[in-house]
C-alpha cells in the first residue's frame, strides 16, 4: 500500500487572508517538494467563494510516494494545524480529526497558555507554536490571481505567511527552513518568524 500522507491544514480569514493562507499551503508543498517528496496544495473547494472574514481552509499533503487518492476534498486527519488569525481557535474545532501528538501553529501576540484555554480538546496536541506574524511583517496581501485554479502572479510569502512558515519549520521536519527560504519572497520575515516563534510542549 502507499506510504503515509502527512496532512497539514491552514485556517485563515476569507478575502483578507485568502492569499496569505494559500501561500502558506503552497509554501509547505513547494518546500517539501524540494526534498523530493510528493506533494499537493489546494484550497478547500466549498469554503470558496470566500466572504470577508469567513473561516476558510487551505490544505497541503506530503508523502514519500506518489499520492494515489488525489481528489480528497478535505484533510480528515491533520497532523499540523496552522491558524493565520488567532480568533479562529475560539469558534471552530480546529483540531477535529487530529490524532494524538499533533502540532498547532498560531499567528498571535498572545502567549501559548492564553490560546490553549480556548481549545477544549488540547490533549490531542504535543506542541504549540505562537508567532506574532503581524508585528514581524504587518502586511496581508489581498490578491486573487492564484485562486480557483489560476496562476499566482505575485509569488509566495510577501506578508504574514512568511513568518508563519518560519515558525512552522520550528516544530516539524516535514518542511525545512532552507527549502522554505528558496521559495518564499520575504526572507527576512521568514527568518524572524523562525527565531521569534514561541514553542512550548503541551503534553
Amino acid at each position: 500500500m502507499a506510504s503515509k500522507v502527512h496532512q497539514i491544514t491552514v485556517w485563515a480569514r476569507g478575502v483578507v487572508q485568502d492569499k496569505e493562507g494559500r501561500d502558506i499551503a503552497n509554501g509547505v508543498a513547494s518546500a517539501a517538494g524540494k526534498d523530493g517528496k510528493f506533494t499537493q496544495a489546494f484550497d478547500n473547494y466549498v469554503d470558496l467563494p470566500d466572504r470577508v472574514n469567513v473561516p476558510l481552509r487551505k490544505y497541503a499533503r506530503i508523502s514519500d510516494e506518489e499520492i494515489e487518492e488525489r481528489y480528497e476534498y478535505e484533510n480528515e486527519k491533520p497532523e499540523i494545524v496552522i491558524v493565520a488569525d488567532a480568533t479562529i481557535v475560539k469558534g471552530i474545532n480546529i483540531l477535529r480529526g487530529m490524532e494524538k501528538g499533533g502540532s498547532l501553529v498560531v499567528a498571535t501576540d498572545r502567549k501559548p497558555e492564553e490560546i490553549l484555554k480556548f481549545i477544549p480538546n488540547r490533549d490531542l496536541l504535543s506542541t504549540i507554536v505562537c508567532v506574532d506574524a503581524k508585528a514581524i511583517c504587518g502586511e496581508q496581501t489581498v490578491d486573487f490571481s492564484g485562486s480557483e485554479g489560476g496562476v499566482d502572479s505575485l509569488g509566495i510569502g510577501q506578508g504574514i505567511s512568511a513568518p508563519i512558515l518560519g515558525a512552522l519549520a520550528r516544530c516539524t521536519d516535514l518542511v525545512k527552513l532552507d527549502n522554505l527560504a528558496a521559495v518564499v519572497k520575504n526572507q527576512e520575515a521568514l527568518r524572524k518568524g523562525h527565531e521569534q516563534a514561541v514553542m512550548s510542549t503541551v503534553n
Binding site: 499537493q40 489546494f42 473547494y45 466549498v46 467563494p49 494515489e68 487518492e69 485554479g149 489560476g150
Partner: protein, 397 residues
Amino acid sequence: MAREMMLSGCAASAQAAKMAQVEVICSYPIRPYTAIMMELAKMVANGELDAEFVHGEGEHAQLSVVLGAAAAGARALTGSSGVGVTYAFETYSPIAGGRIPLQMMIADRALDPPGDFGSEHTDAMSCRDQGWLMGWAENPQEAFDNCLINYRVGEDHRVLLPQFVCQDGYFVSHIPGKVALPDQSQVDEFLPPYSLPHPLDPKRPVSHGPQIRPDQGTIMDMQRAQAMLDAPAVIKEAVDDYNRIFGREISPFVEEYMTEDAEIAFFIMGAHTMTARHAVKHLRSQGVKIGLVKLRFVRPWPTQEVAEALSKFKAVGVVETSTSYGGAMRGGNLLHEVRASLYELPQRPLTTSFMAGLGGEMVPLKEFYYMADILSKAVKEGKTKKTVYWVGFEAEE
C-alpha cells in the same frame, strides 16, 4: 524544447488557447471554469495574447457572440460549467448545423438543484446530440492537448464542427498537474490558421441560417451526420501528427491500461481514471486479472474501437459520472452506447453500469475494489445481478 510546469486544468487550457492564438474570446463567470477566462484576461491585458475579449451578459450571449465572431472568420473560444452550459442550449444546434467550428471549454459542474459545485458529466452530456465533437480530459496535460487537437479536427474542412472540450470541475480544473508546454513554432506546425469556407464577408455576401422547407430539413441533418462519419479519420490523422510533432504517444479514441490477459475491465473517462489506474495496479499485484479502458471522445463515438477493446473481456464495468433518468438501463449514458457498440459481436462481455463520483463526490480506491469484486462475481456466475449500481449509496452485496 518543451517547458514543464505545474498548472491546473484551467491554466493549462488557457495556455493552449493562447498558443492556438484565438482571436475572439467571450467570457461569463461561473465556477469552476472561471479561471480559464481569468488567465486569458490577464494574458490579453499583458499583451501576451492579441485577442478581442468580450464579456457577455450570460452564457446564451457568450455562445451568440462567438458564433458571430467565428462566422465572420475569427478563431473563437468560449466556455462554461454546469447550468451555464444548459442556459446556452438553444445555440448549440445553430452553431453545429451552420458548420461554425468554434470551441467551448467546459469544466463540469453538477446541474441544479440545488447548488452543487462538484463535477458531474451530465452538463455536457445533455448536449451530445447536437452535432458537436465532445471529449474528456483526464488531467491538465490532456486538457492542454485536447484544446489543440479539437481546434485542428473541428476546423478541418472535411469536418467543420464545433467542439466541446470537457474536463472535470475541481478535479482537473483546479488541482495542478505536470504540463509540458511546447514551443509556439511546434503549435504553428500542428494547427493551421482558421479559414472558414463560408464566412460573413462583405466582399462575398452570404446568408447564414435562412428559412427552409421541411423536405430540405433531412438533407441539413444528413450533412451533420456525414461530418460525424468523416470525423474519426480526421481525428486519427490529427493525433498522429500531434504525436509526431510534440513527441507524445496519445491514442486517439480509447487507451488501454494493463489489459493483456485481463478478464474484467473498467470502462471510464475523466478525472477518476487516474485513481482507477492505481486501483488496477494494486488489484493486479494481488492477482486479479483486471484492466482499464479509457475513453477519450464521446462524439464521435468510436464504435469500432470500443468493440475491439472490450471484446476481449468477460465482464466490463462502465464507470459513469452522468445520469440519464429513465434511460433503458436506468442509470447513466455510457452503458447504452457501450452495449450498442457490442451488439454485433458474436461473443459479448457482461456489462454493468457503476454510478460513481456523482455530485462531485470523490471515488476512493476502495470503491474501485468493490466494483472489481462485483465484476469478478459476475464472471463466476455468468451474469450480472443488476445493470446499474449506485456505488457507495446502496447496501453492498
